[in-house]
Symmetry: C2
Subunit: 287 residues, 2 copies
């Protein structure tokens, strides 16, 4: 059926199906899991646009598919949703006891430093290997969008900015927008990319904004009661970078909201509408 790929979960869900697959990743050199939601149209063989979701620190492919309520929205808009794990995994993959480095904390970059460089090539995985796999094995069209949460919001922004022409829209919940200037990013980038800060700039959304080659619809929600807001997330830095680059940004501060999936679930319908406007309406316009 699908060589080197094994379906390890399948659940009927909102007229479609939530599946989890395991496969060997060439980019990462290990077995990886990803969740994929197939709306009814995709189960019927119809080509559908794809929204990629990148999760945050400590997450696996399970968090988003079990806690966000995403399937209702994906079904409504006819979108395939792909949610990969957040790092390479396995006993022979480098790790660190801290929650914010190593397994569960891949930061969606391609590491250059030992011992990380061998497996930590998450950018290669999420931007190239995984889309190719999805488009080969599922009824997925070439229209892609990307979104994420926290470390995964950083991943969504950086992946969209580094790969012009590959995504139609981008959004994030509580993203790490300036990893070169906050503790989570400084720790991870020192390990994965080395002491030389000049090399970090290629993985920082605020830095990449200055040379952005396209203008994608960009929506960001940030909880005002998020415990990481002032120290790790600092959305005002992205706001300034977007203003300097004349990049249109919709940044919404949400009173009372924290950093959890309760926050994501509360506004996810609007993120799906944001992406569907770029993915589905555009496709209809061509039909």
């Amino acid at each position: 059926m699908k060589p080197d790929m094994e379906r390890i979960e399948q659940h009927a869900s909102f007229g479609g199906r939530q599946e989890v697959w395991r496969h060997h990743s060439r980019a990462l050199g290990c077995a990886m899991k990803f969740g994929i939601y197939l709306p009814a149209a995709a189960l019927g063989g119809q080509s559908c646009p794809v929204l990629y979701w990148l999760s945050g620190l400590t997450c696996t492919e399970q968090n988003f598919i079990t806690k966000a309520g995403a399937q209702a929205h994906a079904a409504r808009h006819g979108l395939i949703v792909v949610a990969p794990d957040t790092s390479p995994r396995g006993d022979d993959v480098a790790d660190d006891p801290a929650y914010d480095l190593g397994q569960g904390a891949g930061f969606y970059l391609d590491a250059t430093q030992a011992p990380w460089a061998q497996h930590y090539r998450m950018q290669d995985y999420v931007a190239r290997e995984l889309p190719a796999l999805v488009e080969q094995h599922f009824p997925a069209g070439a229209a892609r969008s990307i979104a994420g949460h926290s470390m995964g919001g950083h991943g969504a922004l950086v992946t969209a900015l580094k790969n012009p022409g590959r995504y139609r829209s981008v959004s994030a919940f509580a993203p790490i927008v300036a990893p070169t200037r906050v503790p989570w990013g400084e720790k991870a980038f020192t390990a994965y990319l080395g002491q030389e800060r000049q090399a970090w700039r290629a993985w920082d959304a605020c830095e990449l904004m200055a040379t952005a080659q396209e203008r994608l619809p960009l929506l960001i929600d940030q909880g005002e009661a998020d415990e990481f807001l002032a120290n790790q997330l600092r959305p005002e830095l992205l706001q300034a970078a977007c203003k300097a680059a004349n990049y249109p940004l919709t940044l919404r501060l949400q009173p009372g909201h924290g950093h959890s999936y309760y926050f994501i679930a509360s506004f996810l319908a609007e993120h799906f509408a944001h992406h569907a406007a770029a993915l589905v309406d555009d496709r209809s316009g061509k039909g």
Copy 2:
């Protein structure tokens, strides 16, 4: 503020707030946790109807509040939703290594047999102590409905049938409808209620249906791909009991669906609409 009660979680959610509280239960003789969703109206002090949700085997107060997507529906209809844990808990509470007996498997009954009788009084807790607590400490009106999943579907049916006048509507996902005739129920009832099967009948929805004193709106969804369907759930027994008692039942068999929260999430909007029609529309009619 609220003596003997401690709020251990609070999350902004869909314009309202998801909270988790810990308190000492007199009925159970131990500390208990419950989730409570307060819609915007309740946060503003307005009295709201309450939907009680009873979870299934192995669950805590967390499963429903993190996986079902219930908050969106509760917010839309202006309902408070209360989701208790599934049994008494603690080192001094009787337990069993099996997943289907003891802690996490209270079956919403009042046990009569040692060692269970001391703490396992879940019916007293969910039908009396918990509603009194909720109505004392939160802006909860006296309009109540009740729903549940699997063991909690049994709990919802039995609690509604045993307490005429206390609930406006009832619904269940994949309920255990005839515990006296299926392995899960036979094992639990033998332990909690003893060998004498006559005593079991007071805790079996199919048995209670024959003497039901009121007719509540009753909605049941059952997945056709549920692994427990033929052996443990047997909805046809409830269908026959309802027919014999002339009790109106809406039983829907859902093709392809299993026993998980993916199934619950897919149809939960319709269960909320079912309860809101009994709780909110009725209230509006009086206003």
